[in-house]
Amino acid sequence: MFENLSERLERSFKILKGQGTITEINVAETLKDVRKALLDADVNYKVAKTFTDDVKAKALGMNVLNAIKPNELMVKIVHDELARLMGGTHEDINLKGSPAVILMSGLQGSGKTTFSGKLANMLKHKRGKNPLLVACDVYRPAAIDQLKVVGEQINVPVYSEPDSKNPIKIAENAIKQAKRNGHDLVIIDTAGRLAIDEQMMAEIAAIKDAVKPQEILFVVDAMTGQDAVNTAKEFNERLNFDGVVLTKLDGDTRGGAALSIRTVVDKPIKFIGTGEKMEAIDLFHPERMADRILGMGDIVSLVERAQEQYDEEEARKISKKIAKNQFDFNDFMSQIQQIKKMGNIKDLASMIPGVGKMMKNVDLDDNSFVGVESIIQSMTPAERANPQLINGSRKNRIAKGCGRSVPEINRLLKQFSDMQKMMRAMQNQSNPLRMMRKKQSRR
């Protein structure tokens, strides 16, 4: 019941395997499973219905014409249909206007405040913007403090009026302040609100009227169930928002809400949130998301993100060292730092096809390095460069230095030597990422 959608579909396609053509009967069997999988993934009931209807129509129309195996054909049809539902190609955020104003909206706890920080941080670094964050949540206890802490973390100023209870005025004043101080981007964080809360919905509509934002974003928790459609519809009717942000995708939710929302409001999903840290933000690419849902791996995103954060020079050095069998603890430490910069590693790894499934139960949290780092830090420079030096008495010293046990040190040494072996083995193969890319373009 709770396997993920891609596993689910994989299995349902197996039923089709070995059957030469797509007939009314075998397509019905498969689509029943597809529909069940979609519902388990929290795709809205009606959306799932429409989806399977469309896929059925397409599949039946195609059977006589094609010689490929039915299961391959079905993968393609389901994939294309998923991608179509989630909507076309990537749509960028509108930053015209001086300053450009972005207004956040959404239910309580969906991730607006965190995302405001992430977006400010991203636009600051990638687009050279000079953002101002605005604290318009005058209700939630310590909401202003929260945005201020976020602002400090990313070094972006926050405009707030701690004594005011009027978010409309605060927003207006913030724009004036932004103009005075030369900010070209204003991001307004608002309180969470229910779509049926008339007073609060009127309030955010009034903020919209007052500041005329270039971009209104609807922030939604990826774990949301069937109600996602109702909420998205209400917010859209009220605000006519420009894009959707899907948060908490670092969890194991199948994220059917993405499909549902895109279908009912016809607005693009522009960003995703993949962690609590400020760097855990990504663009939304429907094609890739469909690939990801189907377990094909989100290669392009991974490569782009890795390239951006990864110091190429450093990587080349390490690669040479691996080839020469000189990879030591200093290199290992610097790799850990690199990976930490890239954000959640489990999330990064899960984008590699095949790895996703493997990593599901592997403990790879951001904190998983803490112990390792402290052990390495307790080694002498000579030990770091020549791990084979580490004998029993050195192990005891290291253990004392970092407060870990000797078995823990042994485990790390064992893992390290396994890793050295694996790295050499991997270098001898061709690049798995490249292989995957080719496979994708063949489709």
């Binding site: 689509l31 029943k32 519902l39 929290d42 309580q108 939630r140 229910l194």
Partner: protein, 316 residues
């Protein structure tokens, strides 16, 4: 059965029409279709299926409920309207685990030990801190002394948020700096509470996604450390679920139960349009009772869970 018969039908209404359709009473329709028959119409079961699934009950649990109703109707033959209502409600009710008397949800009831320690856990943003504020208010109102522990030392201004609730309700909050060891905060809180003979201690924890193994292990550590002060702690592990969460709540319940032996559930944000139906399957499978529901952001917006009321709101 619904999911099976679905493929034979070609009626395709637009999404908007479908969503806008006013919800007819499930009972009414169900009743009309079975009175005087020994078999329930597919049409009607489809409708029931739709109601249950759009309430986030989930496919598996929905199919189980429908199956049981079919069996009852086939066995008892010729059921009348009233009986049918009863059957449906009974079947759904039987899924919801009853609250156990040892850990009463009634705030004024005498607590089995002192200080009675409640640890609150859940994924990010579900309403843990808010629920703690509301619980503290209720316990205090019924004459109990309450200590809160700010063991979310990770999220921006999480400590300040709990402190604000403490001030609002008038109960002390034990805290350390942001980034401090949460287990150490819990330890401090229990120590203070014990010294001051407090009746209830509620520990706030940082939101964490259940698939992050290290963060889940951290909860176990917090639990173990608390035992050093109060051997029976935590007396209650309250898992907070967001009422608008879909099937993922199931996995949340599973993983949090594995890490911390969850003993009760709180479902928040039921003042919205989401129904929280996933809790039927959760309560049934893990045998954990729902104790509280959150119905707003105010200090009084917490209710002791009432199974019958919940079912009425789910099905009407």
């Amino acid at each position: 059965m619904g999911i099976l018969s679905f493929f034979q039908k070609d009626k395709k209404e637009t999404l908007d029409q479908g969503l806008a359709k006013t919800k007819e009473s499930v009972f009414g329709k169900l009743a009309r279709a079975v009175v005087g028959k020994s078999k329930v119409d597919d049409e009607v079961l489809d409708r029931l299926e739709e109601v249950l699934i759009t309430s986030d009950v989930g496919v598996e649990t929905t199919l189980r409920i429908i199956e049981r109703i079919e069996q009852r109707v086939a066995r008892d033959k010729y059921v009348g309207t009233d009986e049918l209502n009863k059957v449906l409600k009974e079947e759904v009710l039987s899924l919801l685990t009853e609250d156990n008397a040892e850990n009463p949800s009634d705030y004024s009831a005498e607590l089995p030990s002192s200080p009675y320690v409640i640890m609150v856990v859940g994924v990010n943003g579900v309403g843990k801190t808010t629920t703690i504020g509301k619980l503290a208010y209720q316990f205090k109102k019924s004459g109990k002394s309450v200590y809160l522990g700010a063991a979310d030392t990770f999220r921006a201004a999480a400590v300040e948020q709990l402190v604000a609730w403490g001030e609002r309700v008038g109960v002390p909050v034990i805290k350390q700096k942001m980034g401090a060891d949460p287990a150490s905060v819990a330890f401090d809180t229990l120590t203070s509470a014990k010294t001051n003979n407090a009746d209830v201690v509620i520990i706030d924890t940082a939101g964490r996604l259940h698939n992050k193994v290290n963060l889940m292990n951290e909860l176990t550590k917090i639990k173990n450390v608390m035992r050093k002060v109060v051997p029976t702690a935590p007396n209650e592990v309250l898992l907070v679920l967001d009422g608008s969460t879909g099937q993922n709540a199931f996995e949340q319940a599973k993983q949090f139960t594995k890490a911390t032996d969850v003993s009760a559930l709180a479902i928040t944000k039921l003042d919205g349009t989401a129904k929280g139906g996933v809790v039927l399957g959760i309560s049934d499978q893990f045998k954990i009772p729902v104790k509280y529901i959150g119905l707003g952001e105010g200090v009084e917006d917490l209710q002791v869970f009432d199974r019958k009321e919940f079912i009425n709101s789910l099905l009407d």
